[in-house]
Amino acid sequence: MNSTVIVTIVVVIIAVVAVLLIKKKTSSTLDKDNSGHEEHQGDQELYALGMNPVSPKPIMYALTTCQHCKNTRKFLDENNVDYIVIYLDEYSGSQRSDLMEKVRTYNPRGTFPTILVPGGKVIVGFRKQLMQEALLHDAGTTA
């Protein structure tokens, strides 16, 4: 008799847990569906950082297709500069325009690359000399 009660209780507990799990899964699927477009929206953490660029590392706003951006990355990599890159063309819709608006607050022409140096300096374009002065001579920004 006792064992029958215990088995019943266990079955009920399992059933309740199963129902809760199914509900949770359904809810998260609905959330995803409601989140809108299926477009690729880049890395959400980088998007947040791009919109609120407080970082101990330089932040580079760039395009994946831009040769000046590639040359800048190559230069920074060769000089072991630790930096964060945010590719605007990996975002779409309002996120892309939000990021572009943010870039224009630092560089009104909205060109790439635009590099925010900790401390407030902004470097626009592939400028070896400026990067050397701002990034290679400052302690704490190199790896």
């Binding site: 994946t64 297709t65 040769q67 605007l88 779409s92 892309r96 325009s97 022409r109 060109t111 790439f112």
Partner: protein, 109 residues
């Protein structure tokens, strides 16, 4: 179309205007790859150095060759991407002038 084929085609088109592709072949090849990537992404070959807004009408000024190329080459010797150059700089692989953006920031995004 391969990037190499695109380069050949663009070099021929540029020659009709008296322009040349940059002497740094890797730079040109990378630009051609990016143009093809943009064609795939947007449906048209917009400038790889600028952010497109995915609207062909609004991006029409930056479809390569962009409408700013002539003025840029006349003033700086190269276009905004340093992809097309003038005859004077056609043999210089290190010629990368700082070309100021002419596009009105209110256009596009």
């Amino acid at each position: 179309m391969t990037p190499e084929q695109l380069l050949e085609h663009l070099a021929r088109c540029a020659a009709t205007k008296g322009y040349y592709l940059h002497a740094d072949h890797d730079h040109c090849l990378g630009t051609a790859e990016s143009l093809l990537a943009n064609k795939e992404r947007y449906g048209y070959m917009c400038c790889p150095c600028r952010l497109a807004c995915s609207d062909k009408q609004q991006d029409s000024d930056i479809i390569c060759p962009c409408i700013y190329r002539d003025a840029d080459i006349a003033e700086y010797g190269a276009c905004f991407c340093s992809f097309y150059v003038s005859e004077e700089h056609k043999d210089d692989p290190d010629f990368f002038p700082e070309v100021e953006e002419r596009r009105d920031p209110s256009r596009g995004l």
